[in-house]
Symmetry: T
Subunit: 75 residues, 12 copies
C-alpha cells in the first residue's frame, strides 16, 4: 500500500485573557500566536474560566490553535 | 401500565458563524432556524471553534436547537 | 481498493416527555417516531432531565433513534 | 451591536457499514449523503463499532456530516 | 506522615441569564454571588444554553464559582 | 456595555434512593428538595448506581436540582 | 513505606435486557450475576439503549457490577 | 405506584490543598468538611491540579463529598 | 411488578495489535476472542493508540467485545 | 489484504483500597492481580473515591490492568 | 521523602491527512514527526475527521505523539 | 470594540514517571519543566497510568503545565 504525502498540522494550546469577555480573550491569544507562528488556520475552544478579584472579572479562554507544519519546524 | 401522551421534541444540529464573536454566531444560527422551523424553544452549545485567515477570525458555534414536533412533521 | 455497498443508517435526536417516568417518556418518543419514519431499529439514551412545577414531575429523555436510510430519503 | 450575516451549516448523523473496514464504511456514508445532499463539506467520526456474525465482521462508523444550509432548506 | 494545614475552598454551581449574550450572563451570576458570598476567587464555565421565545434569546451560562471557606461556614 | 439584570439560579446535587427503581429514587430526591427549598424548577440526572445486599437492590440516582435564587439566599 | 492490606474488588460489565423497562433490565443483569458470583456489592449504569422491532421495545442497560475478590479467584 | 421513603444524600464540592501531595490535600478537605457537617460518608475525586511558585508545588484536589441529609437541613 | 426473563450479555475488553493498521488490529482481537468464547455478537472501539520503534508502527486498538452469557458461565 | 498475527491483550477492572492513600491502594490492586494473573504489563487509573467512617478515610482506586492473553486463556 | 529521578516525556499534538484513509493519515503524521524529533515512542488518536470536496475525501487524524525529553530540549 | 491587551499563556503536556508514586511523578515532570522554561505557574493532571515489570511499578502521570508566554517565545 503506497504512502501518499498529505499535509501535516500541529496544534498548540494557548490561554488568552481579557477584562472584557471571552471573544476578546480569544483575540488576544490569536494575536499573540500570529506574532511568532506563520500559517495558523483554525482554533478550538477547550475551556472557559475566570479569575475574580476586587470587583473585576478576568475572562480566560483555553484554545488549541492549528497551523501547517513547514519542513524545518520542530513539531 | 397505561401510556400517557406527552409532548415530543426534536433537536437539530446547526453551526452559526460570525466575524464578530460567539454571541453573534448564535444569533445567526437561531435566525436561520426561525425562518423555516416553527416552535423552536431552546438551544445547547456543543462546540466553539474558529477559522483564521488573513488578519481575521471567523467564530463558529455548534448548537443543538430544540423544537416541538407537530403531528405531520418527519422527526 | 474497490468499494463494496454497505447499508447506511441515519440517527435523529428526539426528546420524549411523561408525567409517569423515564420508560414512559421513551415510549412516547418511539411511538411518535414510528408514525412518520419507517425502519427504525434502535435508540440510545443521551440525557435524562425533568421539569418541576406545582407538585408534579415531567420526566424528559433525550434519545437518538436510528433507522435504515431508503434510497430516496434525505439524510 | 449590529448583526452581520454569517453562513449557517447543518450537521446530520449517519452510520456507514462495510465488510472491509472503517475507511470503507466512511466512504459508504459519504457516498449516500452525496446522493441527496448538496454542499457537504466535512465529517466528524463519533463512534466505531462492529457486528460479528458467522466468521465475518461488519464495521460500523457513526459520522456527523456538515453541509451549508441553502435558503429554502429545513434545518 | 504529619498533616499540614492547607486552605480549603468550596465550589457552588450557578446559572446566570441575560438577553444580551454569554459574557453578560456570566456577570449576572458573578454579581449575584458577590452579594452574599465573600472570598470568591474564580469560576469555571460548565455549560452554555439558551431559551428562545418570541423573537428573543435568553442566554444561560452554568458556572461553578470557587471561594475560600472560612472557619464557621458550612461547606 | 450596560449590564441588564437577568435571573440567577443555583443547582444543588442530591442522591435519591429507592428499593423500587430509578423513577422512584428521583421522586424521593425531589420530594426532599421541596421540603426546604422554594422555587425548584428542573433537575438533571448525573449518575445511576445501585447497592446490592441480600437479595435486594437499592437504586441510587444522582440529580442536580435547579432553583431560582431569591435575594437573601446564600448561593 | 509499609504496605497495608486493603480489600480488592473486581468489576465486570454486563448488559441486561427487558421488554418492560430499564429497572427491569437492571434486575435481569443482577439476577444473572448472583447465580454464579458471590459477594456482589454494587453496580454502576454505563449506558441505556434499546432495540426496536415490530411494535415492541427491548430495553438494554449496560452495568458494571462490583464484587469482592476472594483469594482464589482470577481477576 | 406508591412512593416508598428512601434516604436522600447531598454532595458538596470542595477543593483541598497541600504542600505535600494529593493524599494530604484530600485529608485537608475531609477534615474541614467534618468540622461543620455531620454524616459525611464518601467522596469522589473530580480533578487534580497544582499551583507552582518559587520552587514549591501546591497540590489541589477537587472532591465531591456526600452526606446524608437530615430532615431540617437545606439541600 | 413481575420480572420477565430477558437475555443477559457480558462485555470483555481486549487490545488487538497489528503492523498494518487499525482494521487489522480489530481482526486480531476478534479472531482471538472467537477461539475461546462462543456467542460473540458485537464490539465497540474504545481507544486507538500506537507504539513507535525503529521505523515501524504497531497499531493498537482497544475493543469491548459483547457476547451472550450462557447459564453456566461466570460473568 | 493478508492478516498478520499481532499480540492480543486483555484488560480487567479492579478496585484497590487502602487506609493510607491512593498510591498504596494501587499497590494492593496490583499485588492481588499478580497472585493469579501472569503477564500483567500496565494499568490505567479510571476513578479515585473514598469511604469516610469514624475519623478515618478508606482510599479507593479503580484500575484497568492489562495483560498479554496466552493461547488457552478465556478473554 | 527523597525524590528519585524518573524519565520525563513530552507529548505534541499533530494532525495527519491522507486521501486514502486513517491509517495512512497516521503514517504521514508519524513520518513528519520522525524528521525533526528523536525518541518518539508512542501516539494516541484523539480525533478523526474529514474534508469533503469534489468527489474526494481528505481523511484527517489528530494524534498526540510522545517522546522522551532530552536534557537540553524545551518542553 | 477596542481590544485590550491581556496576558497570554501556553500549556505544554508532559509525562512524569516515578518508582515511588504519583506525587513523586508530578515532581519529576515539574522539576524538568523548570530547567528550561521560565514562568511556569500551574499544572493540570490529565491521566494516571503505570508500567508493571518484575515486581515493580512505574507510576506515570500526564500533566499540562501552564506558563506565561514572553514576547519572543514561539507558542
Amino acid at each position: 500500500m503506497a504512502t501518499t504525502h498529505g499535509k501535516v498540522y500541529r496544534k498548540t494550546e494557548l490561554v488568552g485573557t481579557s477584562d472584557t469577555g471571552f471573544d476578546d480573550a480569544v483575540r488576544h491569544a490569536v494575536d499573540r500566536a500570529r506574532k511568532t507562528l506563520r500559517n495558523i488556520e483554525w482554533f478550538e475552544v477547550k475551556e472557559e474560566r475566570g479569575k475574580l478579584s476586587g470587583g473585576g472579572i478576568e475572562y480566560q479562554v483555553t484554545l488549541e490553535v492549528g497551523f501547517a507544519l513547514e519542513d524545518t519546524m520542530t513539531p
